[in-house]
C-alpha cells in the first residue's frame, strides 16, 4: 500500500530575522486539488512561509515537506509553478522566448504556444517583455507559472495591476487548474478574490495561524453583521458607537460592520438619530469583515 502525503506540509515552523519573529509555530497543509488562500496583513509572515516552502530560506525549527520531500529538492521543484509578487524578466526577450526558456526546465512542460493560448496571452507572444504594461507582465508571469504543468501552484498577489476582464480571465483559468487536480496556494490582499476562489482560508497574524476553514466557516466564526443604509449620518460619527467595528461610506451608502450583540441597539440608534434613513438591510458579514475583525483581535 502506498503512503499518501500532503503536497505541502509545514508543522511547528519557527523563523526569526534578528529580533523579529516572522513565523511562530506555523502549521499549514495543502492537499491535492484544493485552493488555499493564505491571508494576513503586511508583515504577518506570508512571504516568509512561501520562501520556506520554496526552499529559498531554511526554518529555525519545525518540519517542512513538499511532496513528501525536503523543500528545494529538484523532484519537488519540478512539480511546482511559482508566480512571485515582483520578479525581473529579461526585457529584451520576446514573451514566446521567455515561455520557451521556462518551459524547458520541466520534463513534460507545455508547448509554449499552447500555454500562451491557454492563458489568453497569445497576442503577446511576439512582443518584447520590456514593452508590456504592468498588467500584461503579470499575465505573462502567470503563463510562466503554468508552463511546467504544476501540481502545486504558488500565486502571490496574481491579479495586482490587472483590469477587471483580465482578472476574471485569470480566475477562470485558476478554477480550471483546480478542477484538473492542481493545488494552489494563493496569497492576496483582494479578499473578494479569496472569497471567489478558495476552498479553504488560512488567516495568519504575527507568524501564527489564527483562523482556518472554508469561507463560510471563517465568516460565521465571527459574531459580526453588516448593516447597509442611506443616511445623512457621517461614518466618523457612527464609527464611534459601541459595537461598530467599521463604518464607511461607499457609493452613497453607509456600510457598518457591527458586533452581533450590538446589532439591535445600533439599528435602533440609526433610526432614532436619522429620520431620513432608507434602504436599510442587515446581512451576515463577508470575508473582508471577518478578516478585519480577526486581524484586529490578534493585533492587540
Amino acid at each position: 500500500m502506498m503512503a499518501s502525503v500532503d503536497l505541502a506540509e509545514m508543522e511547528g515552523v519557527y523563523k526569526r530575522f534578528g529580533d523579529t519573529t516572522a513565523l511562530d509555530g506555523f502549521d499549514l497543509r495543502v492537499r491535492r486539488g484544493e485552493l488555499v488562500a493564505l491571508l494576513g496583513e503586511n508583515g504577518a509572515g506570508k512571504t516568509t512561509a512561501i520562501s520556506l516552502m520554496l526552499g529559498l530560506q531554511t526554518p529555525d525549527a519545525g518540519q517542512i515537506r513538499m511532496f513528501g520531500l525536503p523543500p528545494g529538492d529538484m523532484e519537488a521543484r519540478r512539480r511546482l509553478g511559482v508566480m512571485l509578487q515582483e520578479v525581473f524578466m529579461a526585457p529584451e526577450l520576446k514573451v514566446r522566448e521567455l515561455v520557451t526558456l521556462f518551459a524547458s526546465y520541466y520534463p513534460d512542460g507545455h508547448d509554449p504556444d499552447e500555454i500562451l493560448r491557454m492563458t489568453n496571452t497569445d497576442s503577446l507572444g511576439d512582443r518584447r517583455y520590456g514593452l508590456l504594461s504592468g498588467g500584461q507582465k503579470r499575465q505573462v508571469q502567470f503563463a510562466i507559472a503554468l508552463c511546467g504543468k504544476p501540481e502545486l501552484l504558488f500565486l502571490d498577489e496574481p491579479t495586482v495591476g490587472l483590469d477587471v476582464q483580465a482578472r476574471q480571465g485569470l480566475w477562470d483559468i485558476v478554477r480550471k487548474q483546480v478542477d484538473a487536480g492542481c493545488s494552489i496556494l494563493l496569497t492576496t490582499h483582494y479578499l473578494e478574490e479569496a472569497e471567489a476562489l478558495a476552498d479553504r482560508i488560512v488567516v495568519l497574524a504575527k507568524g501564527r495561524v489564527v483562523k482556518s476553514g472554508t469561507v463560510k466557516e471563517v465568516t460565521q466564526s465571527i459574531s459580526t453583521r453588516r448593516i447597509t443604509c442611506t443616511s445623512r449620518l457621517t461614518a466618523d460619527e457612527v464609527g464611534s458607537w459601541p459595537g461598530v467595528a467599521i463604518a464607511v461610506v461607499e457609493n452613497g451608502s453607509l456600510k457598518l460592520t457591527v458586533d452581533h450583540a450590538e446589532l439591535e441597539s445600533t439599528v435602533s440608534r440609526l433610526l432614532e438619530r436619522d429620520n431620513t434613513l432608507g434602504d436599510l438591510s442587515v446581512s451576515q458579514a463577508g470575508l473582508a469583515d471577518a478578516f478585519v475583525k480577526i486581524t484586529q483581535e490578534n493585533r492587540l
Binding site: 503536497l7 520578479v87 525581473f88 487536480g181
Partner: protein, 266 residues
C-alpha cells in the same frame, strides 16, 4: 476542492526525471537567450563588437611607428581585442547579474526547476561566444587588411589565448554582480573596467614612475601572453608561466569567493 483526483503517493515522487538531452537543452537555451539579449541591447552588444574593430583600423592606419613595426601593430591589435572581450564579460556578469539578483530573477529560478548553475553557465557561454565573435572578426580584419602579420599557427594561438583570456574578466564581473546592488553595479563595473584599460598599458606605455601599477592589472598579463604567442619579441616581458598563473589564480580565487557568497545568500 476536486475529490476525483488520486492522492499523491510517495512511490511516484521519483518519477519526474529528465533525460540528459533535455537538461542539455536548458543550458543551450539559457546561453542562446542570453546571447540574443546581448545583441538586442543597444548599449551592450553592438558597441563592444564594432568599437574595437573600428578603433584598431583607425589607429593602425595612423602614425608611422605603429604602421611600420609589426610588434607594435600586434600590440595595438591585442589591446583592442582585449578591450572587445573585457566589456561583455565584465558587464554581462557584473551589472546585469546584479539586477537579476536584486530583482529576484535568480531567486525565482532557484524556486522552480532550473538546474542550479544553468543561469550562470548560460551567461558564461554567452560571454565566450561573444568573445569568439569579436576575436574572429578582429583577426580576420587584421589579416585581410594587412594590419597584422601572423602565420596560421600564430593566428590560432592568438585567438585561443584571447578566448581563454575572457575567463578572468568573467570572474571579475561575477564577483561584482554577486555583491553590488543593481543601482551601483554598472558604475562599479565601469570604475573597475576603465582603469584596467589605462593602467595595464594596453594602448601606450605607462610613465616609468607608475609602470609598476600594470603588474596588478589582469589585461597586462593577457596582453603579454598574446604578444608572446604572436611573436612580438621586442615588447614581450616576463615568463609565460607567471602570466598564466596570475590570471588562473585570479579567476579561480574570485570564482570560489563568489560561488561561496551566492550559495549562502543567493
Amino acid at each position: 476542492m476536486n475529490s476525483t483526483v488520486p492522492e499523491l503517493d510517495t512511490a511516484t515522487i521519483q518519477r519526474k526525471r529528465m533525460s540528459r538531452l533535455k537538461v542539455l537543452r536548458i543550458y543551450y537555451l539559457e546561453a542562446k537567450y542570453e546571447f540574443i539579449r546581448s545583441l538586442r541591447n543597444p548599449g551592450f552588444g553592438f558597441p563592444f563588437l564594432v568599437m574595437p574593430v573600428v578603433l584598431f583600423l583607425v589607429f593602425s592606419a595612423l602614425g608611422s611607428p605603429q604602421k611600420a613595426d609589426p610588434d607594435m601593430r600586434l600590440g595595438l591589435f591585442s589591446g583592442m581585442a582585449i578591450l572587445g572581450i573585457m566589456g561583455p564579460a565584465m558587464f554581462g556578469f557584473g551589472a546585469i547579474l546584479a539586477g537579476e539578483r536584486q530583482f529576484k530573477l535568480l531567486e525565482f529560478k532557484r524556486a522552480i526547476a532550473m538546474p542550479a548553475a544553468a543561469h550562470l553557465i548560460g551567461k558564461f557561454v554567452c560571454a565566450m561566444a561573444y568573445a569568439a565573435m569579436v576575436i574572429l572578426v578582429m583577426i580576420a580584419v587584421g589579416l585581410v587588411m594587412g594590419r597584422i602579420s601572423l602565420n596560421a599557427t600564430q593566428a590560432i594561438m592568438v585567438g585561443l589565448v584571447l578566448w581563454l583570456g575572457v575567463l578572468p574578466f568573467c570572474a571579475i564581473g561575477f564577483f561584482i554582480g554577486a555583491r553590488a546592488s543593481a543601482h551601483v553595479a554598472n558604475g562599479i563595473t565601469t570604475i573597475v573596467y576603465m582603469p584596467q584599460l589605462y593602467f595595464s598599458g594596453l594602448f601606450f606605455p605607462l610613465p616609468a614612475a607608475i609602470g609598476w601599477i600594470a603588474l596588478f592589472m589582469p589585461p597586462f598579463y593577457l596582453n603579454q601572453l598574446v604578444l608572446g604567442v604572436g611573436g612580438a619579441k621586442h615588447i614581450y616581458i616576463g615568463g609565460a608561466w607567471f602570466h598564466v598563473l596570475f590570471l588562473a589564480v585570479l579567476t579561480v580565487g574570485l570564482t570560489l569567493l563568489t560561488v561561496k557568497k551566492m550559495t549562502r545568500h543567493g
